[in-house]
């Protein structure tokens, strides 16, 4: 099932931070669309505004100016609770530092997003956790704590957690930043596989070889898009 309208549509997004008397313009007018099945790498040096952009796409932050259409809804003026619902149901986050809760098992880490959802009945939880863990090939590790797993495995648990709600997009913020290059390539191959199965992926990175795993690369510089190309 493909749709014509983009999943994500950013229109002239600006973000200004006020620091005392001075203001700092992190994003100076960003516009781009991402369609279902896209694998977009957003690349830029530190200070280019890519983290700010990621926070806005992930609805953790709101733009100072501009319009954000997500899944045909203008979410620019959404309340905090409505945005939490969007994050819960439509966006799967994967972070550089994994962010698993260390004191609970893999199973309960993957369960967490469902705890904050009204959409999924308790009876469906177990099935969904097992299927997400199966996707990342970790179904035999569900009773382990994160301290008993390798870096690559931990990131795969985080991906399972991002997948468990069956979101519209996966938002990965430097997902390989804490991994060695071999594991990094494994994880990126895994993202490619997910994308082939139809998941829309937005990847934030500062490494060109990681960005190259995507189908399309957007390069940011000083809060503006300087390049938007399809990867050959």
């Amino acid at each position: 099932m493909t749709r014509k309208n983009p999943i994500i549509s950013l229109r002239n997004i600006k973000k200004t931070y006020l620091m005392g008397d001075t203001s700092c313009e992190a994003l100076k007018g960003i516009s781009f669309n991402a369609h279902e099945g896209d694998f977009v790498s957003i690349m830029g040096a530190s200070g280019s505004g890519k983290s700010t952009l990621m926070n806005i796409i992930g609805t953790l932050d709101t733009a100072t100016e501009g319009k954000y259409i997500f899944n045909d809804s203008n979410i620019t003026a959404y309340s905090e609770d409505d945005l939490a619902k969007v994050r819960n149901e439509k966006i799967g986050f994967v972070f550089q530092s994994f962010n698993l809760i260390p004191r609970v098992s893999v199973y309960h880490n993957v369960e967490r997003p469902m705890i904050y959802s009204r959409k999924i009945p308790r009876s469906q939880r177990r099935g969904r956790i097992l299927s997400a863990l199966k996707t990342v090939h970790l179904e035999d590790k569900m009773d382990n704590l994160s301290s008993q797993l390798s870096g690559g495995q931990i990131q795969r648990v985080a991906i399972a957690r991002a997948l468990v709600m069956d979101p519209e997009i996966i938002l990965a913020d430097e997902p390989t930043g804490n991994l060695d290059s071999a594991t990094s390539h494994d994880i990126m191959n895994f993202f490619q596989e997910l994308n082939k199965e139809g998941k829309t992926i937005i990847l934030i990175t500062h490494e060109p070889d990681i960005a190259a795993f995507g189908k399309r690369t957007i390069i940011l510089k000083d809060g503006l898009i300087v390049e938007d190309k399809n990867n050959g």
């Binding site: 953790l60 619902k85 994050r87 986050f93 972070f95 962010n99 705890i115 904050y116 957690r161 709600m165």
Partner: protein, 406 residues
């Protein structure tokens, strides 16, 4: 987020930091346990005092000499305003139909010699029916009679402690002679052991007829107390007033401000005692309550540490869709679970300690539901009150800053 999920998350987090959880709980445990212990002991003491007072007879009116308005010398034995004739007046007067028995008494601390032994003790001169009004019964021999009172007989009824001290444990002293203030008295009876009632010890008292005590032993014509037994306790206020008016007339007093006697009822005494004990209880429970407050501050402290420590986790929870109120609920439940668990342990500890204490100090163990309900309520309140600030702090965290927190 459902309550069930919030509870299970809270439990897992409290279990994870076991030592910290136990230490935070300890403040609540000590607070609740001491409140329960104090209330329970106070209740036990009150019921023991009350039953002692009522064993004296709850239908008694006591008239003692002295003024109500003349400072601290109240009920002083040396005030010479109450006479034996006053007592006789109430006894032989059909106007006071509610008065069923009248007993006058005097007392003095003297040396008593018998069987070659001597002891210092209280000699009480009492009317023949004093024993009845005080529920004192005879164990050996007999009590003295009204006739003994009328004829100034030198007879004595002695308490069991006096028997063991002068004649030896279990001896039968009836018919023996004892010497009180160089006068010889014949022992006619021994009272049944009754136990000390705080103010006096009837087991260690020598009773002689009040007339004999006044005339022969003490050389005085006033009495220290007149006690009246009432047949209908419900008319106590009316009878008290009648007696007051009659005594005022007898003593030639027209102004109530110059009144030279006090009338107290044992009911009044019970009320006074129970008001004293409840004030004491409230005070002690208040002090114990302070330790609960300190425990609550401990819980707040731990919750603040926990929030700071889990800042990054809170950021993650917000990123995966937790709303402010989900975070608030989760931390609040954690605080309440902490205080309620502490409260439960405190309650059990408090009840066990109260039971042990009641056995040691020999008062009845009183189990009551209301301190327990109160404790549960207080624990929930403390958990919410002291958990609210840390929980709100967690809920208000900005997810971007929280995720960056190291």
């Amino acid at each position: 987020m459902s309550f069930f999920d919030a509870f299970s998350i809270s439990f897992s987090s409290l279990r994870h930091n076991r030592l910290r959880t136990i230490l935070a709980m300890l403040g609540i445990v000590i607070g609740i346990a001491s409140v329960i212990l104090i209330i329970s002991i106070a209740k036990g003491a009150t019921s023991s005092i009350t039953s002692e007072v009522s064993s004296m007879g709850s239908n008694l009116l006591s008239i003692s000499p002295g003024s109500q308005s003349r400072g601290p010398v109240q009920g002083g034995g040396n005030v010479e305003t109450l006479t034996y004739v006053d007592a006789q007046y109430f006894k032989n007067n059909s106007d006071f139909s509610n008065v069923s028995a009248v007993s006058a008494s005097v007392q003095s601390s003297v040396q008593v010699i018998g069987n070659g032994e001597n002891m210092n003790t209280t000699v009480q001169g009492v009317s023949a029916n004093y024993f009845e009004t005080q529920s004192i019964s005879v164990d050996l021999g007999e009590l003295f009679s009204e006739e003994d009172e009328n004829f100034y007989s030198k007879v004595a009824v002695i308490g069991p402690d006096v028997v063991s001290e002068l004649f030896g444990e279990g001896a039968d002293p009836t018919g023996q002679i004892i010497q009180i203030k160089s006068q010889l008295f014949r022992v006619v009876g021994v009272t049944k052991a009754k136990g000390s009632s705080g103010m006096s010890n009837p087991d260690k008292t020598v009773y002689v007829p009040v007339t004999t005590a006044m005339k022969i032993l003490l050389g005085q014509n006033y009495v220290q107390m007149i006690q009246l037994s009432l047949s209908d306790i419900t008319l106590i206020d009316q009878t008290t007033e009648e007696i007051k008016q009659a005594l005022m007339e007898r003593h030639g007093i027209t102004d109530e401000a110059n009144i030279d006697f006090n009338i107290t009822s044992s009911k009044e005494m019970q009320e006074t005692l129970s008001s004293i004990t409840s004030t004491l209880t409230a005070m002690l429970a208040g002090i114990a309550g302070i330790s609960l407050l300190v425990g609550g501050i401990g819980v707040m402290n731990i919750m603040l540490v926990s929030v700071t420590e889990r800042t990054k986790e809170i950021g993650l929870l917000k990123a995966i869709g937790a709303r402010r109120k989900d975070i608030l609920l989760q931390f609040l439940i954690e605080a309440v679970v902490l205080t309620i668990t502490g409260g439960m342990i405190g309650m059990i500890t408090g009840e066990v300690f109260s039971y042990v204490a009641s056995k040691i100090i020999n008062i009845p163990f009183v189990f009551q539901l209301y301190p327990i309900l109160l404790a549960v309520g207080v624990c929930v309140a403390i958990g919410i009150f002291f958990g609210l600030y840390p929980s709100r702090r967690a809920a208000k965290l900005n997810p971007i800053d929280a995720l960056k927190y190291e």
